[in-house]
């Protein structure tokens, strides 16, 4: 067969340097797998950073993950797994020469990518609304031992503490503080959002139902601390003062969800919370970029499929594009529990 191999005697999609379409298909696939291995190793650098940071700063992770919504994360897992199903189904349709089904499956897969990115946008927006930007823009970014953005950090702490203590997600910090105080009796003067938002507090709900309030001096404590009529009030003298202890602050019990509030983080760890967000944004950002690239590949496949390019004899691009899409899914399978389900 190969001795007679000429321009007129082979399928249009078979390149000259391959004997058969099957050999061409297998070679393309092998090359793709080698590429996917390099992709895994590229993400590996970030997984390594994650492992080292989590291993050494458990408390920072337990605190920071409170800003993430595990239900959005789980929804995105389902969306991505479903789009992987439609992709695999699309490959099957291509192999069987079912042109219309292939096109439908590719479009469904693309829509899965759109859904994933929409949810990711909602999540990122929630972070940005609360000053949880990546890098030095983060509300928790410390400079020379003090918060670089005292006004932003107060807001971000209230937001994350509300999540960690099972409160409702506040539209802004002031509302959260007002809500939380309204739960406890004799706190009426703090029910007014404007009064509460002026008080810079991180507070913890203890097992006994007491409320412990820490007013970090660095954030500008209210003029009259006695305005907060509660026995468990303590005032921090300085954020990085070595004399600080957390006396009077009861950390939440570690049953069920291990939940951390700002006050339970040691002062030196408080300045590291922004690194959790740097890792979060880098990992999900690189993954999101891969989703976008995967969507572009699928869009290209949709255009080619609409022209009827693929059939039983030639579906290598569908299969290889599918492998890329599945890898994106594979990485998310690990990102989801590591970022959203920290225990």
């Amino acid at each position: 067969m190969s001795s007679e191999h000429g321009h007129d005697n082979h399928p249009p999609h078979l390149a000259h340097h391959f004997e058969t379409p099957k050999q061409q298909f297998e070679s393309g696939k092998l090359g793709m797998w080698v590429f996917l291995a390099t992709e895994i190793l590229m993400f590996g650098g970030l997984f390594c950073a994650y492992s080292i940071y989590r291993g050494n700063h458990q408390d920072v992770f337990l605190y920071g993950y409170g800003a993430l919504n595990k239900y959005w994360g789980a929804t995105n897992t389902v969306v991505l797994l479903a789009s992987s199903l439609t992709m695999a189904w699309g490959v099957r349709a291509a192999q069987k020469g079912q042109q219309k089904l292939l096109l439908a499956m590719l479009i469904a897969t693309f829509m899965g990518g759109v859904g994933f990115m929409c949810i990711k946008t909602i999540e990122y927006k929630a972070k940005w609304d609360h000053g949880l930007f990546p890098g030095t823009m983060n509300a928790f970014y410390y400079k020379n031992g003090a918060p670089a953005y005292p006004d932003k950090i107060e807001h971000a702490i209230a937001y994350i503490d509300a999540h960690n203590t099972g409160g409702h997600a506040p539209a802004h910090g002031g509302e959260h503080l007002a809500d939380a105080h309204a739960e406890a009796p004799a706190h009426d003067e703090h029910a007014a959002p404007e009064a509460a938002s002026e008080a810079s507090e991180a507070h913890a709900e203890t097992a006994e139902g007491h409320t412990a309030v820490i007013i970090p001096a660095a954030f500008g404590a209210p003029a009259d601390v006695s305005l907060i009529p509660h026995p468990a009030v303590t005032t921090e003298t300085g954020l990085l003062d070595t004399a600080i202890d957390n006396a009077g602050v009861t950390v939440l019990p570690h049953a069920g969800h291990t939940q951390r509030v700002w006050a339970s983080l040691s002062p030196e760890e408080q300045g590291k919370v922004h690194i959790f967000f740097a890792i979060y944004f880098l990992m999900t950002g690189l993954h999101g970029l891969h989703v976008l690239i995967g969507m572009a590949v699928i869009l290209w496949l949709i255009i080619k499929a609409a022209k009827g390019t693929f059939g039983k004899e030639y579906f290598t691009p569908v299969d290889i594009g599918g492998l890329y899409w599945h890898l994106v899914d594979l990485i998310w399978i690990f990102l989801f529990p590591l970022l959203y389900l920290i225990h």
Binding site: M1, N9, P12, T20, P21, K22, F25, K29, L30, W33, L36, A37, T38, I40, L41, G44, F47, C48, S51, I52, G55, N56, K70, A74, T77, V78, L81, S84, L85, M87, A88, W89, V91, R92, Q95, K96, L240, T242, H254, G256, H257, T258, E268, K312, E313, F315, D319, G322, L323, H326, L327, D329, L330, I333, F334, F336, P337, L338, L341, H343
Partner: protein, 120 residues
């Protein structure tokens, strides 16, 4: 066009065709695992939680790789490439973690405390 070509070694099409029932079954199993991994966070199992979460993730990744990515029916060499990537990743992260454990206690002491702790 291709009818003129002799289909000597691809009479059954190129590559394995996965049945729809298998694809749906794998997807259903992936959903069960997703629910399981979220549910297990509501139970405090101490350090076991992270290992269960990772175990479920490995099981899900295995299902995706074996069936959606066709590795079960592929040339074993493709699977070897994937496994070797994970092997080198494990070496990379494992040795990095061992190393960071060596010096972490030194950098853990905050600069403000060190003079007193070390004694000048």
């Amino acid at each position: 066009m291709s009818h003129a070509h002799t289909h000597d070694d691809h009479d059954h099409g190129i590559g394995h065709i996965t049945p729809v029932s298998l694809l749906l079954g794998v997807f259903a199993l992936l959903m069960v695992f997703t629910v399981l991994t979220v549910a297990v966070t509501y139970v405090d199992l101490g350090p076991a939680n992270i290992w269960i979460a990772l175990g479920v993730a490995v099981a899900k990744a295995g299902l995706v790789a074996l069936y959606f990515m066709h590795l079960r029916y592929d040339s074993p060499f493709n699977g070897l490439i994937l496994v070797s990537a994970f092997l080198f990743l494990a070496i990379f992260i494992g040795i990095s973690l061992m190393d960071t454990g060596e010096y972490q206690q030194n950098i853990h002491t905050p600069a403000t405390v060190r003079p007193a702790a070390v004694g000048g």
